[in-house]
Amino acid sequence: MQSNPSDIDRTITELEDIIATLKSPANRSRAIAEGIDIDRELVRLEEELQQVLAQRYASLSPWEKTVLARHKDRPYSLDYVRLIFDEFFELWGDRLANNDEAVIGGLARLNGEPVVVIGQQKGRDLKERQRRNFGSARAEGFRKALRLAKLAEKFHKPLISFIDTAGAAADLRAEEHGVSEAIARNLREVALLRTPILIAVIGEGGSGGALGMAVGDRILMLEHAIYSVISPEGCAAILWHDKSQSPEAQREKTAQAADALKLTAQNALRLGVVDEVLPEPVGGAHRDPVAMAATIKNALCSHLGELCRLSADELVDARYRRFRKLGAWAEQED
């Protein structure tokens, strides 16, 4: 099920088309000739567009958010890395066997302060998508991330991780090279890493593949990003595995699954899984990546300021307790 912006944007696209049409020189001239105050009309339309956008995006369903989180125009990790940091010196490789390009990372400066950055990276065009395995890391990608995380720890630099993946690779090579082990080891080692760690879930937070790079002290999530234990498609297939359904019915079921999974940022915040939801520009991050990056940067700086006041022992203790308390259970005395 490919992302389809028209799901969300039909009214919006109409408005945008009208505005673009009115702005064309020919139409302008004609309007002026006909005595229409075209500029006033345009201002009115732009205002209306903003209003529609704001309303529409304030009430996206979980499934619409899923579509948006996967949108091909949505900014990816490297887009934010370029917009947020003063410098970025990319580093390659896991020092074991491979340089998995589904994961990027390197040394950067945040407002001049050295940090280590890692991220999950989807590709923009087909060639880049293939090169980056559609953002689905294999074992090598998680090991590359861990190598850089350990570099951050060794040199006392904060670690910042951008999450955006449909999930870890599940192909033969991934299994052969131990993708499960690589995720598990990341979870264990990063939980005890003696340096501040900030996570930003910017698009798709897909299951164990996302979590494998998403253990940290503060977990930020963009307003329309998603984070889920399983994809809505996978969940629907397990819950209502009726292959004979029509595409519409299947879609309906998938949307129901998205609802049931509570995969939105707002729900993740409610469950205590994320610490802050970062508002997106009106109409979503892809309409104003620069503004979005500025929001993320502010949040990173502010959280980092707080974390840097803690000792490594305090950081690790708090991080352990943070994940330790997640879950929902009732308890009777034994």
Partner: protein, 283 residues
Amino acid sequence: MPRNGWFSRRSRTARVMESVPDGIATKCVKCNEILFARDFERNLKVCPKCGHHHRLNARERLAITVDEGSFVAMDEGLTSLDPLGFPEYAEKFQRACANTGQTEAILTGTAAIESHPCVIGVADFSFMGGSMGSVVGERIARAMETGLERRLPVVMFTASGGARMQEGLLALMQMAKTAAAAGKLDRAGVPYIVVLTDPTTGGVYASYACLGDIILAEPGAIVGFAGRRVANQDMGTRLPDNFQTSEFQAEHGMVDRIIPRKEIRPALANLLSFFAEGNGHAI
């Protein structure tokens, strides 16, 4: 099915394999051989013909693993909630409880194996596919913390399809929780031994199951990340016949030893004894 034949003459408590059918005979799920129930039980539910290791529930596993009467359950009072109000979760959960007589997909506690004390966890695939929700994760973390506090080795028998979908993100977070607890054991030098049993996949394999100092596996168990079907559709490559089995994982460096069911108890005793005896030098 009413009890009849040989079983009628045997006391209920003597039966270790409680899930052996009450009839006189059963069929191997792998080779379809007809097996006398008593032989099957004596052979710990391993098919004498093809060697297939049939699944055990948690109680059966405990019975053949730990010293009789040594198991003291922990955290039985922890029970699941339905944090997302997920469709049909409450019903499925109640059914699982009723069908298995368990309260969750894992049993944890302290026990002794050939007199070596340890903390033990035994997952139960018959309870909602052994899926890891909040209570499973919490029991595992507490078991590990008990190991940490008492400096007792931790032994985990895994059997799970992965994280429990019905608890959403909270289930996913149990991966991080159990791995972090395993990290504490690691840093403290408390031995952590995993036994992978059929099946161990998904978020369980990609968290606490992969982190043992020693990882044993039963022969032929399904062990892997995403399931054969997923890997197949993703790649279009021909998968090896043993894809996502214990043997495949061993070939790829993830398993220390594949050990037949009958030898697991002595192997664990051996390992516990090895780790218990300090040479007393260094560090």
